[in-house]
């Protein structure tokens, strides 16, 4: 592959790096893998080495949790260098078969799960207390346009999140609507798997799609979609919110009453793409605090220094070779030690990874992992 001379240096501002090592020092996956992001930033300055560097397996260990970017005193995004290297491999056609399936499915079906587009709205059937989920016509007006997230459309474990979000919207009398079958992948994982071309296509498609509706705000169920639409699709002009921001707002306005008690000790796990990346720390905690019966606790590692669950950054499809304890297991052990009954999250990926870790540790009798939407569902 031909990388134009100096492209990397310029694109990632590599000469701005002072090699202080704060990035690698704070990188959570170093306890499991050999990834050294500082070294990559150093070595990619040399164009002649790019090819060889892109072939190193460690570039796939990064979860893109944003820790390195937060810690960088020069304001760089070191992990983006790894995505650049990944994209070189993608252009060569040289990626894991699992990632190939996911990317081809996004191209063919608009979701990475190999599921047909025609089934995208099957989750909407028979929701308790909801006559019919509102799907908007093109051009139709709604205060809130909800983007469901592919995982919430198809994964039976995550579908209840979308269903609960609808219940909350209905209960609070929000003027909401969905796109329907035409809704498509946000491109977050596509970009993180290094497929820049496909991401550009999705960016255009989504921008055009959102433009076709007269909505005041776009609300995302997943922090990953949220981050992409808010920060990476430059032409989306409508304000983008995460559902926790909207729900906190409607609770504050007194539109949603939470009456059902959940008598439990709850510890909240900050999803990287909501917290570290977008600084939404307070709204989820505010919502949890308003659910009767909940005693809210804090991890030692919370907010900006929250521990990544390893679900993002394309890691759904590219397994690390490491046999060391998964970070999600570390997180669950911490929660267990604190005596938490529930680990609350606000992200489909965190829910999957942490719940899996909980089962692996055999704590599924005494503890559970739940998305805030599930707790809301129990409380309204």
């Amino acid at each position: 592959m031909n990388i134009e001379h100096g492209t990397f240096v310029e694109k990632y501002d590599l000469l701005g790096c002072i090699q202080c090592g704060r990035c690698t020092g704070g990188c959570p996956v170093t306890v499991r893998t050999d990834l050294n992001v500082r070294l990559f930033v150093y070595e990619t300055v040399d164009d002649d080495r790019l090819e060889a560097l892109s072939e190193k397996h460690e570039i796939w260990d990064c979860t893109t949790c944003n820790n390195c970017a937060l810690r960088c005193p020069k304001g760089l995004d070191p992990f983006e260098v790894l995505l650049g290297l990944r994209s070189m491999q993608v252009e060569e056609g040289n990626i894991e078969p699992t990632a190939i399936s996911a990317l081809e499915s996004v191209f063919n079906n608009g979701n990475p799960w190999g599921k047909p587009r025609a089934l995208r709205c099957n989750w909407m059937e028979d929701i308790e207390g909801v006559e019919k989920v509102r799907i908007l016509e093109k051009g139709e007006k709604a205060d809130v346009l909800i983007h469901t997230c592919c995982t919430a459309c198809y994964d039976p474990r995550i579908i209840p999140l979308a269903r609960n979000l609808v219940r909350v919207m209905e209960k609070a009398g929000v003027d909401y609507g969905f796109i329907g079958e035409e809704e498509t992948d946000c491109g977050s994982e596509v970009r993180r798997l290094g497929e820049e071309g496909l991401f550009e296509m999705l960016d255009e498609d989504n921008t055009e799609l959102f433009d076709a509706y007269d909505s005041g705000r776009i609300v995302c169920l997943s922090p990953h979609c949220y981050n992409t639409f808010k920060n990476e699709c430059e032409n989306i002009k409508t304000p983008v919110l995460h559902y926790t921001e909207l729900v906190a707002e409607i609770i504050r306005e007194g539109k949603l009453e939470l009456t059902g008690e959940i008598d439990s000790k709850v510890v909240y796990h900050d999803p990287c793409y909501l917290g570290k990346k977008n600084k939404v720390f307070d709204e989820p905690r505010y919502i949890l605090g308003r659910i009767p019966g909940i005693e809210l606790m804090e991890f030692n590692q919370s907010r900006e220094i929250s521990l990544c669950c390893e679900g993002g950054g394309g890691k759904m499809w590219v397994e690390s070779e490491s046999k060391e304890q998964r970070l999600s297991e570390t997180r669950i052990l911490d929660a267990k030690e604190m005596g938490a009954d529930i680990v609350a999250v606000a992200c489909p990926f965190c829910l999957l990874t942490l719940e899996d870790a909980l089962k692996a540790k055999g704590f599924d009798e005494e503890m559970r992992v739940a998305d805030i939407l599930e707790l809301l569902g129990e409380s309204i």
């Binding site: 590219v318 397994e319 692996a360």
Partner: protein, 324 residues
């Protein structure tokens, strides 16, 4: 003429079961049409197979020549063309097998007669065969009708008709090799077994898959025994791979392998979305799980709701018994 030719299939010193299945099917059709069933046996030193075929056929046509010791479609095709031209059977049935799909289509072209493949059932309507075959991975059946011809060639799916008891005593007729010139365009070399220890589960036809329900590494031997008895390979959910009880390359699912076996036997696997995405290509899925509400039952064709520690050893015994 209503006679039916069935091509006998053998490999490495064994007559393949599919031969008896198709002879049984041919017997049923011949009963209806009043024709005779001829087993065509090409090989070398094959008296034993001829005897076996005879109990399922009215006649066994044997060409015993070193040329046919091992399968070679080019040689087989030449012989069959000569025999069919000479005998003019109405139907030619061949297994839709690794050998059959390598032979039947080109044979039909050379004879210039109708052909279809992977037939799951055949009936006769008047004089003509009508075939049923599957489309879209078995989601739809299709009815195949043929243009008028003297001979029809059909490749029949394995295990679509169970082999009967036999009981006929067909005449065994040895004839001279109709092919007199050596076949050079294609030459058989050898059979090679898949290397042991090097299991690629994406290629496995039978998989016994282990989940967290196995609970302890010390229970793994019962799974190994079941797999061995069934002639299956072992695969696993991520939970089992994470625990280190099977190597990473045995993981099925979104971050593991996508598999397409004929049988996927999921034992102690809950059926998480990330797992079942990997088994879309499986023909038959069977689940053993003690939880009747486990999602895996929504993907399975057959289920057993019970403790795997009880079911697995019992099943292993039964399968061993059956295989003798």
């Amino acid at each position: 003429m209503h006679d039916i030719f069935v091509l006998a299939e053998h490999r490495e010193g064994e007559l393949r079961e599919v031969t008896l299945e198709i002879l049984t099917l041919a017997g049923q059709l011949a009963e209806q049409s009043g024709g005779k069933v001829t087993a065509v046996l090409l090989g070398s030193g094959i008296d034993e197979y001829a005897g076996k075929c005879a109990s399922f056929a009215d006649r066994v046509l044997v060409v015993d020549d070193p040329m046919y010791k091992d399968y070679n479609s080019a040689a087989y095709q030449q012989a069959l063309v000569e025999l069919i031209k000479a005998e003019k059977p109405h139907l030619v049935l061949i297994g839709n097998t690794g050998q059959g799909v390598d032979l039947a289509p080109s044979l039909a072209v050379e004879l210039d007669v109708p052909y279809t493949s992977d037939v799951v059932s055949v009936t006769l309507e008047g004089d003509k065969p009508v075939a049923t075959r599957q489309y879209y991975g078995g989601k739809i059946d299709g009815r195949i009708e043929f243009k008028d011809a003297d001979v029809y060639v059909l490749a029949i799916r394995e295990a679509s008709t169970p082999a009967g008891e036999g009981g006929k005593s067909g005449e065994i007729q040895k004839i001279d090799n109709p092919v007199t010139t050596e076949v050079t365009v294609r030459k058989f070399l050898e059979y090679v077994e898949a290397a042991i220890g090097e299991v690629d589960i994406t290629q496995s036809t039978m998989l016994v898959s282990v989940g967290r329900g196995i609970r302890d590494e010390k229970n793994m031997p019962i799974m190994e025994e079941l797999a061995e008895a069934m002639g299956a390979d072992l695969s696993a959910s991520r939970a089992v791979v994470d625990a280190g009880w099977l190597p990473t390359d045995r993981q099925v699912g979104i971050s593991g392998k996508t598999v397409s076996p004929k049988l996927y036997l999921a034992v102690g696997i809950s059926g998480a979305f990330q797992h079942v995405t990997g088994i879309k290509g499986a023909d038959v899925v069977v689940a053993i799980n003690k939880d009747p509400d486990a999602p895996i039952f929504q993907y399975a064709d057959y289920g057993i709701v019970d403790d795997l520690l009880k079911v697995v050893p019992a099943l292993t015994e039964k399968i061993k018994e059956m295989k003798g």
